[in-house]
């Protein structure tokens, strides 16, 4: 029972990563590798700030801002620098690794004995219910904000940019700006995710970003496979459910005797199988944004 509650809590917190990537990967058709750097960046920023006496809430906001800056860098490399999206993301991600070491000063910082968002008001909840509660609140707010945003004139132009950039431009939509804004929002969310996961785990580690893009894709795809044809708003909810299902699958795999060290291997295998089955690939359309990611921006 405890394990299931823990998996749901983890799924809710990690869903932020999936939702962030949904904006770029699915809506903008942009395969953004930056997230592999932004996730630990958010963690490093929040944890370092907290250990320097910053209020955990402010520290978490700082992580969001740091993530947005990372998104801005990738966006500028892609739109102004004409660097293919995949490479632009990899460049930022690689650079962030050094930035993270600078921020933290070492490769691992513990939050032992420090205040976090989880041991404030949530402290009196039974084990693991703190992450479920905070996860639910954050995901509800973020999902509602995304739904509202996408239903505005600005949000519709954002969707059109990813759907058909030629048409968007011919209607006067500044597509470069849209891509930059999308990358900033997306990476801000991923930074937030990193900050929350670090506070939940009680530490930040320089290597905690490895595999995040696969985890994010997995929650998006599991949500799509599990729930089929959905409206855009329903799809956003499906990402969170996908993230929870993914955590439950991992739990089951761990029960089979695999260790936590095998998680990245398992995640990759699951995603690779999804991409290799033609019916899946046709329905899921994973390769298109990735292939597009190796071409420069016109």
């Amino acid at each position: 029972m405890n394990l299931i509650v823990s998996a749901i809590g983890q799924g809710l917190l990690w869903a932020l990563l999936g939702l962030g990537l949904y904006l770029t990967f699915r809506i903008l058709d942009f395969c953004d590798m930056t997230v592999e750097g932004t996730f630990p960046l958010g963690a490093a920023t929040a944890v370092t700030a907290i250990t320097h006496g910053v209020n955990p809430f402010i520290a978490t906001l700082l992580a969001v801002v740091a993530g947005m800056v990372a998104g801005l860098v990738t966006g500028l490399l892609y739109t102004k620098g004409k660097i293919p999206s995949l490479l632009a993301g990899i460049l930022t991600m690689t650079a962030i690794y050094s930035v993270n070491l600078r921020i933290m000063g070492k490769s691992n910082i513990s939050l032992l004995g420090q205040p976090t968002l989880f041991n404030g008001a949530l402290h009196n909840l039974p084990q693991y219910f703190d992450s479920v509660t905070l996860g639910l609140v954050v995901i509800a707010i973020v999902t509602v904000l995304m739904i509202l945003f996408l239903a505005t004139d600005y949000g519709q132009a954002f969707i059109a940019t990813g759907d058909n950039p030629t048409m968007a431009k011919s209607l006067g939509i500044h597509t470069d700006k849209m891509v930059i804004v999308g990358l900033m929002i997306s990476n801000g969310m991923v930074g937030l995710c990193g900050a929350l996961i670090a506070q939940n785990n009680g530490y930040a580690d320089i290597n905690m970003g490895i595999g995040t893009i696969v985890i994010a894709l997995a929650s998006i795809i599991i949500g799509e496979v599990a729930f089929g044809e959905l409206t855009l708003n329903q799809r956003l909810v499906a990402v969170t459910l996908g993230s929870i299902i993914y955590r439950i699958i991992l739990l089951a795999v761990l029960q089979l005797g695999f260790s936590a060290n095998d998680l990245n291997l398992i995640s990759s295998v699951v995603l690779a199988i999804c991409m290799m089955i033609p019916q899946f690939e046709k329905q899921l359309n994973i390769k298109k944004p990735i292939l597009k990611g190796v071409r420069p921006h016109e």
């Binding site: 505005t152 600005y154 519709q156 969707i159 059109a160 006067g172």
Partner: protein
């Protein structure tokens, strides 16, 4: 004489700039377009018709000369900013609509062509009746597919939608680059009729590229022949009315 709505002065474009293959595509285009002109444009493949549209539309910068809109120099104005007064329909039906968005959502996007888009709620429901009525004018069942993703429409329906979107917010200049070329003869004729109807009743200023000499003669009040990056002939009013396919065809020989 009224002031031209759009004027091109000695416009030139180069490709492969700075390489050994540098070539001039448009070789000094001079053109005055007056309000209400409906100009058909013909010319051989590679004559530079699409290039001319790209220069007017701003997705290709002129390497020489000047473009004026209502007397204002727009030579360096970006493609996005020019959409405030300019609309276009592409030849490829896929280029004109957002495939995952519905017909009505696409139309809503087009009502704000060239305008700032704010964080205010889209007014889809409020516009639905108006959009449906407009769609019905295309006579191809588009009005029954208002909530369908445009990716699921036929090429003809998509192209009709693209045309509607280009005219939803009145443009000063409408560019049609072989916009019926990908359609079957019947659908193509249907869209051409609708195009002509809309342009004449609304007194739009339009440029239409076509490879059908009959269509070039039937529609519009002015006809331009483009050849090797230059305007070879410009028939206006009376001169256009007496023009025949045979005479026009001579420009395509040799």
């Amino acid at each position: 004489m009224n002031k031209p709505i759009l004027e091109l002065k000695n416009v030139q474009t180069l490709v492969n700039k700075g390489t050994a293959n540098q070539t001039k595509i448009l070789k000094g285009i001079n053109l005055q377009i007056n309000a209400g002109d409906f100009i058909t444009i013909v010319g051989t493949n590679g004559a530079g018709k699409s290039t001319l549209f790209n220069v007017i539309g701003g997705n290709l910068r002129a390497d020489g000369g000047q473009i004026l809109h209502n007397g204002q120099d727009i030579t360096r104005t970006s493609e996005e900013d020019r959409t405030a007064f300019l609309a276009r329909v592409f030849q490829d039906p896929k280029l004109g609509t957002a495939p995952r968005m519905t017909v009505a959502e696409n139309m809503l996007l087009a009502t704000k062509r060239g305008e700032h888009r704010y964080l205010i709620f889209r007014q889809l429901k409020q516009n639905m009746a108006r959009f449906t009525k407009l769609a019905a004018t295309m006579n191809n069942g588009l009005e029954n597919r208002m909530t369908t993703a445009t990716g699921a429409l036929s090429g003809g329906q998509r192209q009709a939608l693209s045309f509607l979107m280009a005219t939803l917010k009145r443009p000063d200049i409408l560019l049609l680059d072989e916009h019926t070329a990908a359609l079957d003869p019947h659908t193509s004729l249907n869209l051409l009729h609708a195009t002509n109807e809309r342009i004449t009743t609304d007194h739009l200023t339009a440029l239409m590229i076509t490879h059908h000499l009959e269509d070039a003669l039937t529609y519009g009040n002015r006809l331009i022949v483009l050849k090797d990056g230059q305007i070879k002939a410009d028939f206006k009013g009376e001169a256009k009315q007496v023009l025949t396919v045979d005479k026009l065809y001579q420009y395509f020989e040799d």
